[in-house]
Symmetry: C2
């Protein structure tokens, strides 16, 4: 590399998407922490910033309201293009239903030459499904699917088609965003689809706020899964036909 | 809790399944490190033990050969039932195609009363699919499936049925264990199934030994994915019909 090139790279902005994992700081990787320490500015939704309040210098923090992913992505990229080192923090893994998507959608729209003006990186985090699974045993030990019940970006017909396909192929399913204030009935509709292929006794784990102070994680059955409290940040894992519930555990055997 | 109960719990053995993530120590969570520090004995396959050679006291380490999961699970449980604190280390996440399954299968077979003789816990780790995804951008930003191509525990007909189902529902698919010395042709067979539903131009990421010294991560297309080197520990991510490849990135948009 020529000295000129090296000097240019020094001045180049950086945009790093950082997954903080489920909530407890014990699940934040050193790689994620390094990215936060290295950043000139840390951008995120308030709840995620609170999670790291004691780990980072608050003067570098820029809070954004929830739901404004597009604005957060635009502002982050703008700052990085100015030469700043920007860390965008998310819960779980930034690449799973989170900020990696709007940021890379912007990058896809950029002029090819402009893309080299900023270094973009993703630091993975423990996803909500893996955290929930670890609390209840080994529900994801076999082939599984991850499906969001939010119809904000995907039409409900497509979500239903996916649920039907994976349940028909007897895969374990992790459901993200099972409901919100705007969509209270989605989980019941998903339950109906799953019941086409599974018995109502199929073990189900419902994990809310895992590793946080108000954590509630329960193993129930498919026929009753809508009866437990669930919200946008709940993850629900529905077993396959071989999954068993043993004491408080949910166990999917390897052998099919 | 009575003093007697508390003393009993002190003497109780503990079995903790610890996911070390993809390889680089920068992706090992503090929770995982705590579990290793806390253990009387650390059990694992040699490559995973090497990964943590500088982090733990080697006198506590017990190496097992690869493939002997059942023996490793039995020995771990036996030591924990003797009152030891046992940590079983795995790559990635212990719950995804790894040691959580054989351990919990043994627990399912135990007499109900015996289960309370040992505390069992799982500490999640960064899975191979999430690591691979983070290196190539945002391929898993939407609904996706995780399917192993190994027919050691699942008949190939079932694997093919699952591939067909998730491809037919236009989900992104992460393929684990795409080949081994014993099964060299599985990836080609999977490719045929996926090509029923996707064009050969569909972006595909092939990630081998991500974060390790001999890492190779490439974005290619479905029609050519078998041409890149792949082994048992490779993860392959196949996009959905909306996934695009932009410079070195693989981007799945949120909107469907």
């Amino acid at each position: 590399m020529s000295p000129d090139q090296s000097a240019q790279d020094e001045l180049k902005g950086k945009l790093t998407l950082v997954g903080l994992g489920p909530g407890d700081v014990k699940h934040i990787t050193p790689a994620a922490l390094d990215a936060l320490t290295d950043a000139d500015v840390i951008i995120g939704y308030g709840a995620y910033l609170q999670q790291i309040a004691e780990l980072v210098d608050q003067t570098r923090v820029q809070e954004f309201p929830m739901g404004k992913e597009q604005e957060r992505a635009l502002e982050s990229l703008r700052l990085a293009l100015e030469g700043m080192k920007v860390a965008v923090v998310t819960g779980g893994d930034a690449g799973i239903y989170d900020m990696a998507a709007p940021v890379f959608e912007l990058i896809a729209e950029m002029e090819p030459d402009d893309r080299s003006l900023v270094d973009v990186a993703v630091v993975p985090g423990i996803t909500a499904a893996n955290m929930a699974a670890s609390i209840v045993g080994s529900p994801l030990a076999q082939d599984h699917a991850v499906i969001s019940l939010s119809d904000r970006f995907v039409p409900w017909e497509q979500i239903e088609k996916r649920l039907d396909a994976v349940a028909g192929a007897d895969m374990v399913v992790a459901l993200y965003e099972p409901s919100s204030r705007h969509r209270p009935g989605q989980l019941g509709k998903a339950q109906e689809v799953l019941l086409r292929h599974r018995t109502s006794e199929t073990p189900v784990a419902v994990a809310r706020e895992a590793t946080r102070a108000d954590e509630s994680v329960d193993v129930t059955i498919l026929g009753q899964m809508t009866e437990l409290a669930h919200d946008k940040r709940t993850v629900i894992i529905v077993g396959n036909s071989k999954t068993v519930s043993v004491t408080d555990w949910m166990i999917t055997p390897r052998a099919y």
